[in-house]
């Protein structure tokens, strides 16, 4: 079964609207958790007053259809912004990117999969992160995709 997480990260990161919203932080789209701080990089999680925009995609569940090679994964996508309004602006871009996707083929070689559809399944409202207070919104994204590679 092919995991879509990395492909979704690339799709969202490379979307023009999301990239424009992220601005100088255009690579700050992560899977599972925010980038931790290192000696050379402060990471994604900052204290109040020095927040940066970033997005974290977390797999929630990956149910498969019976007898057909189809998966219907859902993801929680946390969009962290500089303010509640800014986080909502980022949410709108991510939501639009999901809806714009439509029917497409992603990946290459043995990991090339077909995505039938993707959509924002929840809507969102801004809230504050319990640890840092950074404004963010959570949306649930749903996909219908093949769970095996599809030849080109």
């Amino acid at each position: 079964m092919i995991d879509l997480s990395g492909k979704i990260l690339i799709e969202i990161r490379d979307d023009a609207g999301v990239s424009a919203w992220l601005g100088a932080d255009a690579t700050r789209v992560r899977v599972q958790e925010a980038k931790p701080a290192t000696e050379t990089d402060e990471g994604d999680v900052r204290e109040s007053g020095s927040f940066v925009r970033f997005i974290v995609i977390s797999p929630l569940s990956t149910p498969r259809d019976r007898r057909v090679p189809i998966q219907r994964p859902t993801y929680a996508i946390n969009v962290f912004g500089l303010s509640p309004k800014d986080a909502m602006a980022g949410y709108v871009e991510v939501s639009d990117a999901l809806h714009r996707g439509g029917v497409r083929m992603v990946g290459s070689g043995a990991s090339r999969v077909g995505i039938w559809n993707s959509w924002d399944d929840s809507g969102a409202t801004p809230e504050a992160d319990p640890d840092t207070g950074q404004p963010f919104v959570t949306l649930v994204a749903s996909f219908i995709a093949t769970d095996q590679s599809v030849a080109s």
Partner: protein
């Protein structure tokens, strides 16, 4: 100490026709199963964390016709949950406040989903879960 279901629930159930009530009871079995099979992450003091407080609600139109929780109390309807229409059955299941941060993660904590996997595992079996409750009411 566990509270009994409110009288309002009983009165609203009586107002439903038998088929709607049977379907609502079947639906309640599904959401109850989701909550009971979910395994929220625990932390010290074990068994006392708020994420352990799971509950479910069933509405027929705007009327509450069922509900319960793991600790026996009737949960309150979340503000974001809209109930409307007279012929619509809706059911929700969830865990109390910190549960959502376990489910979807925070800036410093990776997601540890427990409710969505339980729902995904339960929903395909919904007909067989609903059947006994529906049959009991319609017999």
């Amino acid at each position: 100490m566990a509270r009994k279901p409110s009288t309002r629930v009983v009165l609203n159930r009586a107002a439903l026709n038998t088929v709607d009530l049977a379907t609502a009871e079947g639906l309640e079995e599904v959401v109850r199963t989701v909550v009971e099979t979910a395994r929220p992450p625990d932390a010290p003091p074990y068994g006392q964390g708020l994420p352990a407080h799971g509950g479910w609600l069933v509405y027929a139109g705007a009327k509450k016709v069922g509900g319960g929780s793991l600790d026996g109390r009737q949960p309150k309807k979340p503000r974001g949950f809209r109930v409307q229409g007279s012929r619509t059955l809706q059911a929700i299941a969830g865990f109390s406040f910190p549960g959502r941060f376990q489910e979807s993660g925070t800036a410093k904590m990776a997601a540890n989903p427990f409710l969505t996997p339980a729902a995904s595992a339960t929903v395909p079996h919904a007909p067989s879960i609903m059947k006994p409750a529906v049959q009991r009411r319609l017999r």
